[in-house]
């Protein structure tokens, strides 16, 4: 009896130890960034794992730079536009691919999936030409276009999967009620697809918010940059100094909105990822 008890206690301890290690592994870099951002620059290189004193000078430095504020604004515009366009196109494409029977439907799905497998670098030069031709270089439009290209495949795939799980009779009931495809999509399907749309929208937002390579390549001036590039280009007083404090502060500032978004949509995401698994 006591042996079994001991065993269960040991197992519990082991389980929580493992959880602790995983949490530490996942959280530590972000935690260290927060700690660093709250140190004055004089203490930057003293290794300490706790916040001894609150010093917001780094945040003040970053937020007083107009280029950084412009970058945040650009990021918000680009990310929101990408989410809206991707959801609109993704939803309509998912309706066609999930609901309408036509020749070559599977082929289209495969091509969509294939496109998403190209690494960014492979299409970089080609995309650069496209953006130059469309006169979108050094403007948010260029970034919106290129991010949408990379966001659409998974948006379409996820939404198509969810669209297929909705019962056929629901659409037929709408048809009998006199609904056009657009009304069926917006009034009947969209409210039922909210969890899936929240999930894909959030993933698209994160992808657009964090993207670096395209943002670096397709923009030229400080006023058009997005946050990841702006952070990378924060420079110190001389070329020998990397201003770790402001960089960390900037990183924390741009990560917090994401964390908040994820927390808000957490329930939606979970229900979105499992919805339809059980007949409801």
């Amino acid at each position: 009896m006591t042996l079994r008890r001991l065993k269960s206690i040991a197992l519990t301890i082991g389980f929580w130890l493992l959880v602790g290690v995983l949490v530490l592994y996942a959280i530590f870099p972000f935690y260290y960034a927060i700690v660093t951002s709250l140190k004055p620059s004089s203490q930057l290189f003293e290794v300490s794992y706790w916040v001894d004193s609150l010093d917001f000078s780094n945040y003040v430095t970053v937020l007083s730079q107009p280029t950084f504020l412009a970058a945040i604004r650009n990021s918000v515009i680009v990310a929101l536009s990408v989410v809206l366009i991707a959801l609109l196109l993704g939803l309509t494409a998912a309706w066609a691919l999930g609901r309408v029977r036509f020749r070559g439907r599977t082929t289209v799905m495969m091509i969509v999936l294939g496109v998403s497998m190209f690494p960014q670098v492979a299409v970089l030069s080609g995309l650069f030409e496209v953006i130059r031709t469309l006169d979108l270089y050094n403007s948010p439009g260029g970034l919106i276009l290129s991010y949408t290209i990379f966001t659409l495949p998974f948006t379409v795939w996820i939404l198509t999967t969810f669209m297929r799980q909705l019962p056929d009779e629901l659409e037929e009931a709408a048809i009998v009620d006199g609904a056009s495809p657009w009304v069926t999509l917006t009034k009947v399907f969209m409210p039922l697809l909210w969890p899936a749309m929240a999930t894909t929208g959030l993933l698209a937002f994160i992808a657009a918010w964090n993207e670096f390579l395209f943002a670096l390549t397709f923009t030229l001036t400080d006023s058009q940059r997005t946050v990841p590039v702006a952070i990378a280009l924060i420079s110190g007083g001389s070329q020998y100094e990397l201003p770790w404090g402001p960089i960390m502060a900037a990183s924390v500032i741009v990560t917090v909105p994401l964390v908040v978004l994820v927390v808000i949509f957490q329930r939606r995401i979970v229900s979105g990822l499992t919805a339809g698994a059980v007949k409801g």
Binding site: P167, E169, V176
Partner: protein, 376 residues
Amino acid sequence: MAGLTLERVNKRFGSTQVIDDVSMQIDNGEFIVFVGPSGCGKSTLLRLIAGLESITHGDLMIDDQRVNNLTPPERGIGMVFQSYALYPHMSVYDNIAFGLKLAKQEKQTVDERVRHTAKLLQLDGLLERLPKALSGGQRQRVAIGRAMAREPKILLFDEPLSNLDAALRVQTRNEIARLHERLGSTMIYVTHDQVEAMTLADRIVVLNAGHVEQIGTPRELYERPASRFVAGFIGSPKMNFIQVTAEADAEQGCRVEIPAVGQRALPLAFSAGSGSANEATLGVRPEHLIPTPSERGEGLEIVNVEYLGSEAYLYLERNDGELLVCRTQAPSPFQRGQRVTLDFDPLHGHLFDHDGRAVPPLERHAAPAAAQGATS
């Protein structure tokens, strides 16, 4: 309210012929039931009428207007689906109002219609609920309400009772019958349950493998089935079928040689064809078989007796292992293991020829029901 005509309607999915030259005339205000085994095309036929599938060729007319290319609301139909297919995110009110709003009705008209419909179906207190907060029977009523809110000319039901439990099914069946009485609109109802078909229908359409086997009142179908298929499909327990050899007889109609019974004369106009055309199938309903206890061990053995309270079924084993069913009054004087001889009233015997078609009765014996069926 409207009459409906199908003229040589065909439906093909790829190379599969699902509906094969179906023609029928449905009168204004009639309650028609499509019945048949699964895969016979009854649901497809309903969907063709609804406009959810396109007709490959043939004509569908509503009120003498060809409607092949019209959308469901333009045809003026309402439909109740098997799974109800209520919009899960809308309240009962919005579910019923959805079609009305799409038809661009005045807000006040919509409200009046919804409340009127809800009252008719006893949904008054539930208008603000979501479908998930309703019981099966209530959902069913909402689905019917949604279908009839636009006051369609024709109401279609696709196996609406199959998701309900037995007690609720009987109750809802009653409600649908009363609703038809009150609305007086044309209704077409699909089911695989012959009890639903018999109890609800003005006329039943029996479908088999995409074509119409017989159209008639429940009584016609039961008493004068046009084919062996209809005879076996309508009625529970099933009609007994016995292979016999038949011979035309000018005086009595025809004579059949029945194994274990002997020779009997039937008032049917049998005409022997060529080859093995003397082979025929005799059909007798369980209630028309008359068992008599045998004295010297001849006849058939009773292998099972089912007691149902008001009646009892005797199962008799034939020499070839097939079972015959015999319906008797309860309490039944017969017991398992007993041997009985069988007989039947020749007026209640059905004969089906080589191709499964019913042999028509002699002119002078034609039953009133059958005569009626021929004219309608």
